[in-house]
């Protein structure tokens, strides 16, 4: 099992969620985050006083997938969040030791499967 942490543009989320759901991978968590990377900051001007904002709003999409689903999930996020401009985001993959469904107590990759799988 692997955890995908993808930092993406707001506009990309809906298409990614729809596609992943179609692929049988509907489980995810999304958080609003602020971050800085290669995309430059922007300037806020308030009555003539200026300040540079380094932190831009992004979405963090987190999902845990079975190893066999990893590449196609990454491909999906990669394709749909790509614009070619700085600020498209980054994807990280982390190992996951265990997963447990709270309702049933089930353990392992079975937890990651969607109901209609």
């Amino acid at each position: 099992m692997k955890k995908i942490e993808a930092f993406i543009r707001h506009e990309a989320l809906e298409a990614i969620h729809d596609r992943l759901a179609q692929m049988g991978l509907p489980s995810m968590s999304v958080t609003e985050v602020k971050g800085s990377g290669r995309q430059k900051g922007f300037t806020e001007s308030y009555r003539g006083a200026r300040t540079t904002i380094f932190l831009r709003p992004k979405l963090k999409l987190e999902m845990v997938v079975d190893d066999v689903d990893l590449e196609r999930a990454i491909d999906c996020i990669l394709e749909l969040s790509h614009t070619g401009q700085p600020g498209d985001g980054k994807i990280f993959v982390l190992p996951v030791e265990e997963s447990i469904r709270v309702r049933t107590g089930e353990r392992g990759p079975v937890v990651l499967e969607s109901h209609d799988h």
């Binding site: 543009r9 707001h10 506009e11 809906e14 602020k34 922007f42 300037t43 806020e44 001007s45 308030y46 003539g48 006083a49 200026r50 300040t51 904002i53 932190l55 709003p57």
Partner: protein, 448 residues
């Protein structure tokens, strides 16, 4: 002498009520826009109000109310205040000439505000000035002249007391043309289906509706341009009956068609009911006002769905509220004008009072003339702006928000950026001062 003073005071008060409608538009529009554009909406409403007054002062008033013929006026540039003859087309009112200009200027500002409502969240700030010059300087005044300036529609007995056609239909038609040219917001239509882009604050939107409602009292009852000897009370009653039945009609139809008690539809029901009664309010009985409101509120819901279906993105429903409601208000006198009102104000009595089809025919002619003239001229203006300087904000500005890209600041900064001291520190003040970084390296530059 006393009558002049009373009329003048009423026209000023009514003009202030109509002016207050700008606050209503500001709240209505910001409620239906997204947080990232909240500041830009405020700047838009403010600058367009000022542009409308400036252009109406210079040229609009002369074309609308000056002498010159059946199609457009051509006297009274820069209003020529102090002219002893005043403005002949407004001579029926004893009120001071300056206050008549003020009252009419607030109408021009309302009409311009209606236009931009359909194009929220995606228009370049630079497009406002050229459009205001053409719209308030030419398109709107010509339509006004046809009716209130004594032009050809007035001569044929078209009945439009406070502007269901002249203001609301005219503004909404231009709004429709503009929304078609500027195109839908990014993400509004997917696979041909409309995607909801909810406004960020229903409380502000409905506050806007209620402010507009208050303003509408002056809009309609002030259109006598006089108080002494005029039937202000009936206009007020008719206006409010139409507004409330607009809300009731929209609520019921939205519940039947959509299955929900849609808050935005309820608010737009008020706009439709009040826009629909602007024209007939001097002509119909109270029960007529109730019927007009009910029809207008119901029609409005259908127009919202129709506009979505043809893939035109109108975030606040300006086309449906002002256009749907306005159209109902243009046609209604053909059915509902009372014999006594027709005798007092001109035209013929309505169909239900046995007046025949002639009046309804001229109301239809007015509907077609106002809508087609406004659509063609507004379309051409928007197309020209679009081709030359650009009507639509760049994609990047639309995605980031017009606030930060066009104005360099946010309407709601705490939502988007770190603001020093925006949230209370949980440390007790006597135990912890500001962090070292905050004290030694102030991030704001240029502040004296």
């Amino acid at each position: 002498m006393e009558a002049v003073a009373i009329d003048t005071v009423w026209v000023v008060v009514a003009g202030c009520l109509v002016l207050f409608m700008q606050a209503g538009f500001a709240m209505l529009e910001v409620g239906f826009s997204r947080m990232k554009n909240a500041g830009a909406v405020m700047a838009k409403v403010l600058i367009n109000m000022c542009l409308a007054f400036a252009v109406f002062w210079a040229i609009g008033f002369a074309i609308a109310f000056g002498d010159g013929g059946d199609f457009a006026g051509a006297t009274g540039w820069f209003i020529e205040l102090g002219n002893p003859d005043g403005v002949p087309s407004l001579a029926y009112s004893a009120a001071d000439e300056n206050t008549k200009w003020f009252f009419q200027a607030t109408f021009a500002a309302v009409t311009l505000a209606i236009v931009w409502g359909s194009m929220l969240d995606r228009v370049r700030f630079g497009a406002y000035a050229p459009f205001a010059i053409v719209f308030v300087g030419l398109i709107y005044p010509v339509v006004v002249h046809w009716q209130w300036g004594g032009g050809w529609l007035y001569q044929h007995g078209y009945q439009d007391f406070a502007g269901s056609g002249v203001v609301h239909l005219c503004g909404a038609t231009a709004a429709f043309a503009g929304a078609m040219i500027v195109g839908p917001r990014i993400g509004k239509f997917r696979d041909g289906k409309p995607v909801p882009i909810p406004g960020h604050s229903m409380p502000l939107a409905i506050l806007g509706v209620l402010i507009l409602w208050v303003g509408w009292q002056g809009f309609n009852a002030g259109s006598w341009l006089a108080a002494v000897g005029q039937d202000l009370g009936r206009v007020i009653v008719v206006t409010n009956l139409s507004g409330i039945f607009g809300v009731i009609g929209a609520t019921i139809v939205a519940r039947l068609l959509l299955g929900t008690l849609d808050i935005g539809m309820m608010g737009n029901g008020a706009i439709a009911g009040l826009g629909a009664i602007a024209g007939p309010c001097g002509f119909v009985a109270p029960w007529g006002g109730a019927v007009i409101g009910l029809v207008a509120g119901s029609v409005m819901v259908l127009v919202v769905l129709g506009v979505d279906r043809i893939r035109v993105d109108d975030p606040i429903g300006a086309v449906a509220g002002h256009g749907g409601g306005g159209s109902v208000g243009v046609l209604a006198p053909g059915f509902l004008t009372t014999p006594s009102a027709a005798e007092l104000l001109g035209g013929r009595e309505g169909l239900v009072y046995g007046g025949g089809l002639t009046q309804l025919g001229w109301q239809l002619v007015a509907l077609g003339a106002i809508a087609s003239f406004t659509f063609v001229t507004a379309w051409a203006t928007f197309a020209l702006i679009d081709r030359t300087m650009g009507l639509r904000a760049p994609e990047d500005a639309e995605l980031q928000g017009l606030d930060i890209v066009e104005h360099g600041m946010y309407g709601y900064p705490e939502r988007f950026i770190e603001v020093p001291g925006a949230t209370p520190d949980d440390a007790l003040p006597e135990l912890a001062g500001a962090p070292a970084g905050a004290a030694t390296a102030p991030r704001l530059e240029g502040e004296s």
